[in-house]
C-alpha cells in the first residue's frame, strides 16, 4: 500500500487512481460490481446549482479509440447531491470524494462550492471551467486566464477545502491559464477535460450528436493529455491531477513521470466497468517491471536531465 500512496494537498490517498467526473455517476452502480473503497478516491458527476436535464440525444458518438459525449452536465443540482446522493454514497464508501462543480457565472460557481463546503464527505472541490460563461457571450471560462482566475478567487473565498481547477484543452496555450489559476490561489489543477470533436453519420449525412459537437475522450487523447500535463507541470508548483485516455497501469506511470501527482480514469470505466480496479491491481507489477519502488518518487521524473 505504502508504495502506491500519494498525497494531494495533505490528503493521503492509498493509490493515485481516481475515476473521473461524469464516468462514475455517484459511485453506486460501481459499488454493486466491486468494493469501491479500493479507489484512491473518485470524482462525482459534475454538479451545478440548479438541476439540469442536459442536451438532447443522441449524446454519444463512437470513435476508433474513444467517444464523443454531449451530455451537457445533466445532474440533479447541488442540494439534491447533498441531501440524497452523498448520504447514499456514505453507506458504501468510507473515503472522502472529489466534488466536481460546473457553473455558468462566477456567482453560481461560488454558491455551489459554498454549499458543498458544508459536507465532510468532500475532500477536494474540482472546479470545471470548461462551461460557457453566460455573462460573456457563452465563451468558456477555461479559455481565458482572467476568467479562470476570477472563478478561482471567487471559489477560494467561500471554502477552506482545497480548490483544484479543471482545465479545458480547447485553448491555444494552456500554460498561461494554468499559471493564472495558480496565482489566483488554486491549490491544484486537473487536466485535461474533453477535446471538442465531431462525427458525421455517412448514412444520414448529418452530425451524429444532436448538438453537432461534443467532447472527445478515451485512449485516443492520451498523448495530447500527457503533453499538456507535462507542459503545465513545468510551469506551476501546485499539484496536477492528470487525465485523458488513461486505460492501463502503465498509462498511470507515464502520467506521473510527466508530473501528475495523481491520475483520473474516465472513459475506460464506460468500456470496462472494472477498469479502475484492474489498473489498481496491475500497478505493483508495472512498478516492479520498470524498477519503481514508490510512486511518489517518480512524479515529474520525465522533466529531469
Amino acid at each position: 500500500m505504502g508504495r502506491t500512496r500519494v498525497t494531494l494537498s495533505g490528503w493521503e490517498l492509498d493509490n493515485p487512481v481516481i475515476p473521473a467526473s461524469g464516468t462514475f455517476g455517484y459511485g453506486l452502480e460501481f459499488a454493486e460490481l466491486y468494493d469501491i473503497n479500493c479507489l484512491g478516491t473518485f470524482s462525482v458527476k459534475g454538479t451545478t446549482l440548479a438541476p439540469r436535464f442536459g442536451n438532447p440525444t443522441p449524446r454519444i458518438a463512437e470513435c476508433p479509440a474513444g467517444l464523443i459525449n454531449s451530455v451537457g452536465l445533466q445532474n440533479p443540482g447541488v442540494d439534491h447531491v447533498l441531501a440524497v446522493e452523498l448520504p447514499r454514497l456514505a453507506k458504501v464508501y468510507r473515503k472522502k470524494v472529489i466534488a466536481n462543480v460546473g457553473g455558468f457565472s462566477v456567482e453560481e460557481y461560488a454558491e455551489t462550492c459554498r454549499r458543498l463546503d458544508a459536507s465532510d464527505q468532500v475532500g477536494i472541490l474540482e472546479v470545471n471551467v470548461s462551461c460557457p460563461n453566460v455573462d460573456h457571450g457563452g465563451m468558456s471560462f477555461g479559455v481565458s486566464p482572467q476568467a479562470a482566475a476570477q472563478v478561482t478567487k471567487a471559489v477560494k473565498a467561500v471554502t477552506k477545502k482545497p480548490v483544484y481547477i479543471k482545465l479545458s484543452p480547447n485553448v491555444t496555450d494552456i500554460v498561461p491559464i494554468a499559471k493564472a489559476c495558480e496565482e489566483a490561489g488554486a491549490d491544484g489543477l486537473c487536466l485535461i477535460n474533453t477535446l471538442l470533436g465531431m462525427r458525421v453519420d455517412l448514412k444520414t449525412r448529418r452530425p451524429v450528436i444532436a448538438n453537432r459537437m461534443g467532447g472527445y475522450s478515451g485512449a485516443g487523447i492520451f498523448p495530447v493529455a500527457l503533453r499538456m500535463v507535462y507542459q503545465v507541470c513545468e510551469a506551476v508548483r501546485i499539484p496536477v491531477i492528470g487525465m485523458g485516455g488513461v486505460s492501463t497501469a502503465e498509462d498511470v506511470l507515464e502520467m506521473m513521470l510527466a508530473g501528475a501527482a495523481a491520475v483520473q480514469v474516465g472513459t475506460a470505466n464506460l468500456i470496462d466497468p472494472w477498469a479502475c480496479k484492474r489498473i489498481i491491481e496491475d500497478l505493483p507489477a508495472a512498478m516492479e517491471r520498470y524498477g519503481m519502488d514508490s510512486l511518489e518518487e517518480i512524479i515529474g521524473g520525465a522533466h529531469h536531465g
Binding site: 461524469g22 464516468t23 462514475f24 455517476g25 452502480e29 460501481f30 454493486e32 460490481l33 458527476k45 436535464f53 442536459g54 442536451n55 438532447p56 440525444t57 443522441p58 449524446r59 454519444i60 458518438a61 463512437e62 470513435c63 476508433p64 479509440a65 474513444g66 467517444l67 459525449n69 451530455v71 451537457g72 445533466q74 448514412k203 451524429v208 444532436a210 478515451g218 470505466n269 464506460l270 468500456i271 466497468p273 472494472w274
Partner: protein, 247 residues
C-alpha cells in the same frame, strides 16, 4: 448486471438482414424479458446493445439486424468464438400488470424481446395477442415461433406482401386486449401509444455510452423525471412517456 464470457453456439442468418446468435453461458443475471446484453465487438470501442430474445438456464438467444460495421462484425463471428458481454441490463417488462389478454406490438427488430415476454406470459397462463409490423414478407420474424407458444398472431407489412397491408396501427382498433406491450422504432411507438386503449409499457432505444447507468448518455425526459434508458428503461410505462421536449 454481470460480465459473462459467452461461447457462440450458433450465428446464422434468418432473413436477408437479420441474424440469430445463440450464446452459451451463465444467464443468471437475466431476470425479466425485455432486458438487454451489451456485447463487446473486437475492434470497436463501444459495446453493442442487443435485446434478450429468449433465454434459459445456460443460453441466451439474440436476433440482430446487420446495420453498420459493428453488427457486420458480429455476423462474421463463428460458432465456438467467445463474446464478452455485460448481461441482465435494464429493467425489462413487468408482466404483473398484463391482465389476461395483453397485446404485444413489435416493429422490425423491435420484435425479438417480445418473444421472451410472450413465453413468460404464456407460462403465467395468459393469452397474449401478438401484432407484428414489417416492411415486406421477407422481413417477417418469429411468426411461427409466436404461434408455437400458443399466441394469436397478426402480421402487417407496408407493401402488403404478408398479412395486412399497412402499419400495425391499422390493425390495433380491431383487437380487444387488456394491456399493451410495444417495442420498435420511435415513430411506431408514438403511433401505437396514440392508438392504445389500455395501459401499457413501451421499450425505447437510445445511443449508449456505458449501458449500465453511469454516463447519462441515454437520458429521456418523462413525466416522472429524467430516466436513463439503459438502467431505468429500456421499458417505460405508457403514462410517463413524454413525446416532445427532449433537451
Amino acid at each position: 448486471m454481470e460480465q459473462v464470457l459467452y461461447t457462440i453456439r450458433e450465428n446464422v442468418p434468418v432473413t436477408a438482414e437479420v441474424w440469430r446468435m445463440v450464446l452459451a453461458g451463465d444467464t443468471g443475471a437475466i431476470t425479466a424479458p425485455g432486458q438487454f446484453l451489451n456485447l463487446r465487438v473486437p475492434g470497436f470501442t463501444l459495446r453493442r446493445p442487443i435485446s434478450v430474445c429468449d433465454w434459459d438456464e445456460g443460453s441466451v438467444t439474440l436476433l440482430y439486424k446487420v446495420l453498420g460495421h459493428g453488427t457486420e462484425a458480429m455476423a462474421a463471428m463463428q460458432a465456438g468464438d467467445k463474446v464478452d458481454a455485460l448481461t441482465g441490463l435494464g429493467n425489462g417488462f413487468d408482466t404483473g400488470k398484463s391482465g389476461q389478454r395483453p397485446l404485444l406490438v413489435g416493429g422490425g427488430v423491435g420484435t425479438p424481446p417480445l418473444y421472451g415476454l410472450c413465453r413468460v406470459l404464456r407460462r403465467e397462463g395468459k393469452e397474449p395477442v401478438v401484432l407484428l409490423g414489417f416492411g415486406t414478407a421477407g422481413d417477417v420474424l418469429l411468426e411461427k415461433e409466436f404461434a408455437a407458444l400458443g399466441a394469436e398472431v397478426h402480421i402487417a407489412t407496408e407493401d402488403g406482401s404478408a398479412g395486412r397491408k399497412g402499419f400495425v396501427t391499422a390493425v390495433m382498433p380491431e383487437l380487444s386486449y387488456t394491456y399493451l406491450y410495444a417495442c420498435g422504432p420511435l415513430p411506431m411507438l408514438r403511433a401505437v401509444d396514440a392508438a392504445a386503449k389500455t395501459g401499457g409499457q413501451l421499450s425505447f432505444e437510445e445511443r449508449m455510452g456505458c449501458g449500465f447507468g453511469v454516463c447519462m448518455g441515454c437520458s429521456r425526459k418523462t413525466k416522472s423525471g429524467s430516466k436513463r434508458i439503459c438502467k431505468d428503461g429500456p421499458v417505460l410505462e405508457r403514462g410517463e412517456v413524454l413525446w416532445e421536449e427532449q433537451g
